[in-house]
């Protein structure tokens, strides 16, 4: 079994000014990406775009022929956050990406996608979610291609598999805002300082190794995961969707390279070399190969 995976653009994980977000999606509309995930998934305080603004972008992307999916917050604590999620879950038009079990509960009986912050580690979990209406799931970023192969063999009919193939890795969520902490601001008075870091704030070990990226309440990898060289394997594993997580610069170029690679117009290792300079710090692919996530296994760049 081989498939021709489609490209998706994941939700923007950073806090960008509204004009930048709108300009970004105008450019995305012109790319070969077929699926676009929209909405704030990290921090409910980020207010450059309200739900109505996201819906307006959704409308434009749908008109441009994209499949639009509305993404929900990963960490739901306050009632106001639940209300926001309820509104998205009852939008009645677009598919919803549930990023917390609370959203999964709200989507009961309706079609939905499970994002990478919902733990789907085995086929029993997948089967249970499929009975609730799961249409597509994002493979956990810390698992290996061997685990994916096992999952694919037992995947329920009608469920698509998506792999997080490019972007800084989502590693953790907290009640605390680490960007505000870095600026010595309390979370209650964060001054929306994460807007100053369009790709997150890089954190280094004391020997200057760039290690993590702080993105508000989320912690990401400093390195950018890149599985472009694994496209042939993803095809044989029957992966349906390849996700590219937006970065502030040249995401369209990343989409283009993945697209060309998917269509045999560029060799995987050439694509890898092409993408490396576009990353804020550098590449990694360790999780996919069963080693530490920060490791780089593919040798094209070594």
């Amino acid at each position: 079994m081989t498939t021709q995976p489609r490209i998706s653009v994941g939700p923007i994980s950073y806090y960008w000014p509204k004009e930048q977000v709108e300009a970004f999606y105008e450019r995305v509309a012109e790319t070969p990406a077929e699926i676009v995930y929209l909405g704030e998934t990290i921090c409910s305080k980020r207010s450059q775009l309200r739900t109505d603004d996201w819906l307006a972008i959704a409308e434009r992307l749908a008109a441009a022929g994209k499949e639009v999916v509305l993404s929900t917050l990963a960490l739901l604590e306050a009632e106001s956050e639940l209300q926001r999620v309820r509104r998205i879950c009852t939008n009645g038009r677009y598919l919803v990406e549930a990023n917390d079990m609370g959203a999964v509960h709200l989507m009961a009986g309706k079609p939905f996608v499970c994002g990478h912050s919902v733990n789907v580690y085995n086929d029993h979990t997948l089967a249970l979610l499929a009975r609730q209406g799961l249409r597509r799931w994002v493979f956990p970023v810390e698992l290996t291609h061997e685990s994916l192969a096992d999952m694919q063999r037992r995947r329920p009919a009608g469920v698509e598999t998506e792999v997080f193939a490019y972007g800084r890795l989502p590693l953790a969520y907290s009640a605390r805002c680490f960007t505000a902490r870095a600026r010595n601001l309390p979370k209650d008075d964060c001054q929306y300082c994460c807007i100053d870091y369009p790709d997150g704030l890089t954190l280094s070990a004391q020997d200057d190794t760039r290690f993590l990226a702080l993105n508000g309440i989320q912690t990401q990898s400093a390195r950018t995961v890149n599985l472009v060289a694994e496209i042939p394997r993803m095809r044989t594993l029957g992966v349906d969707v390849i996700r590219i997580s937006p970065q502030s610069q040249q995401t369209e170029r990343v989409i283009e390279v993945f697209h060309r690679c998917l269509h045999g117009e560029m060799a995987p290792h050439a694509a890898e070399a092409e993408l490396a300079p576009l990353m804020p710090v550098g590449p990694c692919d360790g999780y996919w190969h069963g080693i530490a996530g920060l490791a780089q296994h593919s040798k094209a760049l070594a």
Partner: protein
């Protein structure tokens, strides 16, 4: 409120029971639980001894089965659920949807608790676990403020248990893979955070360095006490500042919040530390038993006694304590 205490082995279990625990929680000797450490946990014979010891004294035994099986490991988790049911534990504490589904179908009389690793921070999520698996109780991640905890309890279809004391996760449990990013092993995929197998201690001209999976976590000047390199508690550089960028090495201690937790309707409080010694378990259990009894007798005049705080301070990580997320300014 029920006092739920950790037991990494039979001596700890007995100590917890003897010092006033209402329930103890244990795990099997493998990666089916989130304290998969060498030399820790229970084989089948010890579990049965432990259950017998606890039950004679009116104390419940819960079993943590709270990691996330991958397809290749499924049979091991399934067997663990069957063993737990057969051993007659009072509840299984689980996180994975597949495990919960199997347990609820195969063993309908087995009590299920949603582990903190299940990462449920809101009542909509709790409703899912109640409806699908009949979960009786949930342990909340250590990320909610006291008013958020109260709101969850008010709307929750299940009993709520919260962490009261011990090492502190600053991230939402069950959704943190920092550890595997550096080492390949995380609580979810292996049952351990910052595993000892990947720790290095190096004497260097700059001082003693601790590393995890090769990543420099902390650097100690000569003569300083070095702590265990838990990834989220290291000193890192952001811009030009070097500091505990994620969290200080500190322990959660909610002793002063007891009357408020009781008033919120919390059903049980949990002490962290299955990896700690029987001495720790004894000391901590004794203090919390005394505090809970004092709070129950007269919540209005309850005050943590200085000797309790001193006793807990001695066994705290970095010998500092915090109210964690319960306390709004911490966020």
């Amino acid at each position: 409120m029920e006092l739920v205490c950790p037991a990494g082995n039979l001596p700890s279990l007995k100590t917890a029971v003897d010092h006033g625990a209402d329930a103890v929680y244990i795990g099997f000797r493998d990666e089916t639980n989130a304290r998969h450490f060498a030399g820790l946990n229970f084989g089948p014979a010890k579990i049965s001894d432990g259950i017998q010891y606890a039950r004679k004294r009116g104390v419940k035994v819960f079993l943590a089965l709270n990691t996330y099986p991958q397809p290749s490991g499924w049979d091991r988790w399934r067997a663990a659920v069957d063993q737990a049911a057969e051993a007659g534990v009072d509840a299984v504490i689980a996180a994975d949807l597949g495990v919960l589904d199997y347990a609820s179908k195969r063993h309908p009389n087995l009590n299920l608790h949603l582990s903190v690793q299940g990462s449920a921070t809101n009542y909509e999520a709790l409703s899912f676990y109640k409806e699908h698996f009949g979960v009786r109780r949930a342990v909340l991640p250590r990320v909610l403020s006291l008013s958020q905890v109260r709101h969850v309890v008010e709307n929750s279809p299940v009993e709520i248990e919260v962490f009261a004391f011990g090492s502190l996760c600053v991230m939402v449990e069950g959704r943190c893979i920092l550890s595997s990013y550096a080492t390949g092993r995380s609580p979810n995929n292996y049952g351990a955070c910052s595993p000892a197998s990947h720790v290095e201690w190096r004497e260097t001209p700059e001082g003693l360095e601790t590393r995890l999976g090769g990543v420099l976590i902390e650097r100690y000047p000569q003569g300083c006490n070095a702590g265990y390199p838990t990834l989220c508690k290291g000193s890192y550089r952001v811009d030009d500042h070097t500091y505990h960028a994620i969290e200080e090495p500190t322990s959660l201690n909610t002793l002063e919040l007891l009357p408020k937790l009781a008033e919120c309707g919390i059903k049980a409080i949990k002490i962290e530390g299955r990896q700690r010694s029987p001495v720790y378990v004894g000391q901590v259990t004794r203090v919390w038993r005394a505090a809970l009894d004092a709070c129950r007798r007269d919540p209005g005049r309850y005050q943590p006694r200085p000797e309790w705080l001193a006793e807990l301070g001695k066994v705290s990580e970095g010998t500092q304590t915090t109210l964690g997320a319960y306390h709004r300014p911490w966020q």
